[in-house]
Amino acid sequence: MSFIALLGPIIGLALGFDAVNSERAGGTLNRLVSQPIYRDSIIIGKFLAGTAVIAAIIYTMGIAIGAVGVIVAGVKPSGEEVWRILVFLTFTVVYVAFWLALSIWFSVVCRHAATSALASIALWVFFAIFMSLVSSIIANAVYPVGDDYHAMINSYNNYTLNLSLNRISPYYLYSEAVSTIMNPTVRSVNIVTMDQLVGAVSGYLSLGQSLLLVWPHLTGLAALMLIAFGGSYIGFMRQEVRAN
């Protein structure tokens, strides 16, 4: 799962990084916009086509791997397990579609395909690797936990801030959400105090409850995706068409 969180974006980036600027450089964009079609349909078409490809890849791969698992292990999955997998795949589609939208945005803004590819890869590496470093540095600066005294007062706030900052990153958001979906023993995504655990019966969460836990994550991811797409849409609509 963390493997998909880390490498899934590659699919999105590869599909989107030269969506607009290669057409611009190749002189086909000029030809395209002079046809009697709305300009929105070009950018929307690019996004939807990419998303469709992503969905096809992810669902077929997910289902195929699941089938192989069933054959090899010989364990029949229950209905709820199948649903969990489908929800997980849907999360993955939204997550990769976010990266697609982001790379399309870069392809609108940057003149060269290479620039937009590098920019989107840089962002991807930042979110996947450095975001956790940055957020822990900020959290430690705001709520220092250097000595016992500070650790006692600040550790709760420190952890919460660290978590909130991490959740800006779609990478973290996705990882947290899918590990909750795929693992019914995960009962909370936030910090839980001993008080809250008193009297709790340990058991599995139902799919509905797991979903409820990560619903904000899904909306957050979808919102990020829409923001990225909105950015590329507005950028494209406002941009001059001329090639040079």
Binding site: G26, G27, T28, N30, R31, L32, V33, S34, Q35, P36, I37, Y38, E240, V241, R242, A243
Partner: protein, 370 residues
């Protein structure tokens, strides 16, 4: 800045604004299909197109001539509704280009400069895609594609990948691509750029054919005069966002002669300094320039008779005598010179426009050489 340009315009009488009066009382095949009124486009503090007035009649081939960066492409983009004008309107068949871009685009075919095709699709597939975007399909589309490929002489290469095409082939496929939607009006942006002479000849024949046989209206933008001269009914000379002259070639020529300066190209033997000295004392001669063995003589009136007599008396042999003017090249050079001069004067006052001046000058020099 503005003032001097207006002067430049005033120097070239009538012609310039002869355009706006057209509309009423014109017969069907003589009506204006493109009407541009006070069209202006501002980019930052640069005016790419400045108060452009122009109308183009049905079935006409209009050449929009000007150096690079004169605002030709911007004008075309505004005509297609791809760029919003800062002020003014452009109407095509009575439709406002900025308000109804889709309707306009369905009757206007646009051949961009440096037209491109999807390299991993064949020429035929590229055409099919454009046809589908224009709502065509099925047998009708296939028939039209075949007919057009035949017409532009691309039938053999049609099933090769477009990535393997040469520049000339791309251009021809581009024309087929434009014709797919059977447009009433065709706009070509620098169609002659980077094409070999043979391809050029074919292209010009094709343009003629499109105009004469099909009755389409064609607007060509270019900075290459000679090619355009052969096919255009009317030309407009466009410098730094302003249309400084427009009309048929003979109208432009007339305008120029009225400006009252003649340029004579003379080649004599022997061509020595003594001759130069004598000539410069002659009455009526304003300026003599020596370019290799050729003397360029500027004068206020026609001095050919006077000059031949004079040279004959002094026992010089005239090898070549040619009154310049009349060809577009000369007209073009003249107008550029005018624009260039007013520019130079301005550059002292306005340092900001420095870049422009060079561009204007380079272009006029380019025209000189051409």
């Amino acid at each position: 800045m503005k003032e001097t340009y207006q002067n430049a315009c005033a120097d070239s009488p009538e012609g310039v604004y002869e355009t706006t009066d057209g509309g009423a009382g014109m017969s069907e095949n003589n009506r204006n299909v493109i009407e541009i009124a006070h069209l202006t486009k501002q980019y930052g503090d640069k005016r790419a197109v400045d108060d452009l007035n122009l109308s183009i009649r049905k079935g006409e081939v209009f050449g929009l001539l000007g150096p690079n960066g004169a605002g030709k492409t911007t004008t075309i983009l505004m005509l297609l509704g791809l760029t919003e004008p800062t002020a003014g309107t452009a109407l095509i068949e009575g439709l406002d280009c900025a308000r109804h871009p889709l309707e306009v685009k369905s009757i206007v075919g646009y051949l961009p400069d440096n037209v491109g095709f999807y390299p991993d699709m064949t020429g035929r597939q590229n055409l099919r895609f454009t046809g589908q975007l224009n709502g065509l399909s099925g047998q009708e589309l296939e028939d039209r594609i075949d007919a057009l490929l035949e017409r532009v002489g691309m039938s053999e290469a049609a099933d090769r990948r477009a990535g393997t095409y040469s520049k000339g082939m791309r251009q021809r496929l581009g024309i087929a691509d434009v014709l797919i939607k059977d447009p009433e009006i065709i706009i070509m942006d620098e169609p002659t750029l980077g094409i070999d002479p043979e391809g050029m000849r074919e292209l010009l024949n094709l343009i003629r054919e499109l105009s004469v046989e099909d009755g389409r209206t064609i607007l060509i933008s270019s900075h290459q005069l000679h090619q355009i001269q052969k096919v255009c009914d009317r030309v407009g000379i466009f410098v730094e966002g302003r249309l400084i002259a427009s009309g048929t070639l003979s109208e432009l020529e007339e305008q120029m002669l009225r400006d009252g300066s003649y340029l004579l190209e003379v080649n004599v033997h022997p061509c020595d300094d003594k001759l130069l000295g004598m000539l410069s004392r002659q009455e009526g001669i304003e300026k003599i320039q020596k370019e290799g063995n050729t003397l360029m003589i500027t004068s206020k009136q026609d001095i050919r008779g006077q000059l031949t007599k004079f040279l004959g008396e002094k026992e010089y042999t005239i090898l070549h005598l040619h009154q310049r003017g009349g060809d577009l090249d000369e007209i073009y050079r003249r107008y550029f010179e005018k624009a260039g001069q007013s520019d130079e004067r301005n550059s002292y006052e306005e340092k900001k426009k420095h870049g422009w001046r060079h561009r204007g000058k380079d272009a006029s020099q380019g025209a000189d050489r051409a």
